[in-house]
């Protein structure tokens, strides 16, 4: 390309931009764009302009910039933008975060895990030690037990609520690490042990008591996420990962495991992460996340631009194993149809579901409900209220509903179904 040609392209690009016919970004690679009428796709040009060189780190397309929502505070959370995502794996930088005292800056080489209590050999492990053990990877969901709670109750039914605001405290990753059972075998658990205290190395030393049986079953000392070392907000350099259990038990920045014969009853299990019931009691150590499904499309603030064929998409998961079935209703719950389950269908992992839907243009309500392999069916909000009273905030796994107005505008809520 001669200097003269470059000058021409440059001039044409300027003219095009000034006339507002075609976006300037397109013109930079389409020398003939100035000739195209508005609204018509550009034809392949010859010669084509060369692209960029490779780079050390990839980046998203400028027009594709999904973001978490969050509140700036020491004890706070950020929410995964489900409406922008596909498949089941959450990009690591969009995985939700919940922390109780900010994200600490920990140097991996300086980090130590102390294992003590009812063991034959109290031990410390450096990250290099832990990463030398046989390594396993598993694709599994993580969900905060507060996901979907607190924003929606008997007194308050917001309709301008996005799936990100409602259920953004759920994400899925491929987690990599060493099974806790491998490390406990190394330390030698003594007879009579039944519980563990897991403690983080963040500012408030966030802790939870965990039954030893779970630690020996499928708990992971995780240091990897989606193929790389996990990010600081996820617990770098080391976190506990308890598949299928409420997110706060997967203690981040893990620095201590004490083997005990009883729960320690730390603040987060005698106050915060407990569930008051209708009979004046409160459920304690409610670890497991029951089956749940959410529609991720179409959801508020999307508006269907026209009637016709649309695919309802969503995610379903269960802390008890695999998803066996997801049903979708497009008539406010009067009738239900089996949605397609998109493989792989993994235990304690999100499963993508899809349902092809011909929208007539009339107002309707769409819902989804999941059934897991134990036969547990995702309940309605009425069933949860009857079982637990109207104001439980955690473990709100009821069926979600979205209203499609005749204008195509989608809003959250059960509407007349309440």
């Amino acid at each position: 390309m001669s200097k003269g040609d470059r000058a021409k392209i440059s001039r044409r690009a300027w003219i095009t931009t000034a006339s507002g016919v075609v976006a300037a970004g397109l013109v930079r690679t389409q020398a003939d764009a100035v000739e195209l009428p508005a609204q018509q796709a550009p034809l392949p040009s010859t010669p084509r302009a060369p692209g960029r060189f490779p780079s050390a780190l990839g980046e998203r397309a400028p027009a594709e910039q999904p973001r978490r929502t969050f509140r700036e505070a020491l004890s706070s959370a950020s929410f995964t933008p489900h409406q922008d995502l596909m498949g089941i794996v959450t990009p690591a930088d969009l995985h939700f975060e919940r922390h109780h005292g900010g994200v600490p800056d920990i140097v991996s080489e300086d980090h130590e895990l102390l294992v003590h209590g009812m063991v034959d050999r109290p031990m410390t492990f450096r990250m290099a030690d832990l990463m030398r053990y046989p390594q396993v990877s598993r694709v599994q969901f993580l969900e905060c037990s507060g996901n979907g709670g607190g924003v929606y109750n008997a007194d308050r039914m917001p309709t301008t609520m996005s799936v990100q605001q409602m259920d953004g405290l759920l994400s899925t990753s491929e987690w990599t690490g060493v099974p806790v059972s491998t490390i406990l075998r190394e330390a030698g658990v003594r007879r009579g042990a039944s519980w563990v205290l897991a403690e983080g190395g963040d500012s408030p030393l966030m802790s939870r008591s965990i039954p030893l049986a779970k630690m020996m079953d499928d708990a992971l000392l995780a240091y990897g996420q989606n193929g790389e070392r996990m990010r600081p907000g996820q617990g770098y350099p080391l976190r506990l990962f308890l598949p299928g259990w409420e997110g706060n038990t997967s203690v981040k920045w893990l620095r201590r495991i004490e083997i005990t014969d009883q729960p320690t009853f730390v603040r987060d299990e005698i106050s915060h992460y407990t569930d008051p019931l209708a009979d004046g009691t409160a459920r304690q150590f409610s670890f497991l996340m029951d089956a749940k499904s959410i529609i991720t499309f179409p959801t508020y603030p999307y508006a269907l631009p026209d009637r016709g064929w649309w695919e309802i998409k969503g995610l379903a998961w269960s802390g008890r194993g695999r998803i066996a079935r997801v049903e979708v209703s497009t008539d406010g719950g009067s009738s239900w149809m089996d949605a397609q389950l998109q493989g792989p269908v993994l235990p304690k992992c999100t499963t993508r579901f899809r349902h092809l839907f011909e929208w007539s243009g009339n107002e309707t309500i769409i819902l989804s409900r999941a059934t897991d392999e134990t036969g547990y069916v995702q309940p309605t909000i009425q069933q949860l209220w009857e079982a637990r009273g109207p104001r439980t905030a955690y473990h709100q796994n009821h069926q979600r509903a979205w209203k499609i107005a005749s204008t195509g505008e989608v809003t959250f809520g059960l509407g007349d179904l309440i």
Binding site: F125, F265, L277, F285
Partner: protein
């Protein structure tokens, strides 16, 4: 302790189905043990270092309901008032009810839905958790700052504000575990079981 034993049994039961569909089918190939270790793996790998008693003591800060883990020291309600005014009042308010952070004081009725606010007086199950939590996490911007005497003192003050201990109370490793919290017996085990049974 009977209740605790039940917790363990239930927790183990909850893990049952997880074992069947859990680690092996989640991607481990040729799993020779629950951890996915091959048959020829050694009983011990020998990685990591044995930790001395002194090393364990550096980090072993938790306190159990029976008082195990409580250090020496003591504090009175009046001493606690001073500690509170210095380190706590900014976030928890003049009387422990004003915020802006968690409300500490109040004996709200549970009613049919639990108390509106989960204060120490209305909700906390064990008094020892106050020591564990304050040593672990408070004050929020400088956790670990308080001495043992200051911690016992501010606990005495908070318990007194909640009308749980009298004005002349002294908190230490013997008296603190003996404090009976108003909501001690309100907590029940998780009875959710999965399956097609009733919603819990």
């Amino acid at each position: 302790m009977r209740a605790l034993a039940l917790v363990v049994v239930l927790a183990a039961a909850a893990c049952g189905p997880a074992t069947n569909g859990g680690s092996e089918s989640a991607g481990d190939v040729g799993a020779g043990s629950p951890a996915g270790l091959p048959a020829h793996a050694p009983a011990r790998f020998g990685f990591g270092q044995e930790a001395s008693e002194a090393r364990v003591a550096m980090w072993d800060i938790d306190v159990r309901p029976d008082g195990v883990g409580l250090p020496a020291g003591q504090g009175t309600v009046e001493e606690g008032r001073q500690v509170y005014q210095t380190f706590c009042v900014e976030c928890h308010g003049a009387t422990g009810t004003e915020g802006p952070n968690d409300r500490l004081v109040g004996r709200d009725e549970w009613g049919e839905t639990g108390p509106q606010v989960r204060t120490v007086g209305s909700y906390w199950q064990y008094s020892t958790t106050l020591y564990d939590f304050i040593r672990r996490s408070m004050p929020q911007l400088t956790p670990g700052l308080l001495t043992a005497d200051q911690t016992y003192a501010v606990i005495a003050y908070i318990l007194h504000l909640n009308e749980i201990v009298p004005e002349d109370a002294v908190m230490n490793a013997e008296t603190l575990p003996a404090v009976m919290m108003p909501s001690r017996d309100r907590f029940v085990l998780d009875d959710r079981q999965g399956g097609p049974g009733p919603v819990r």
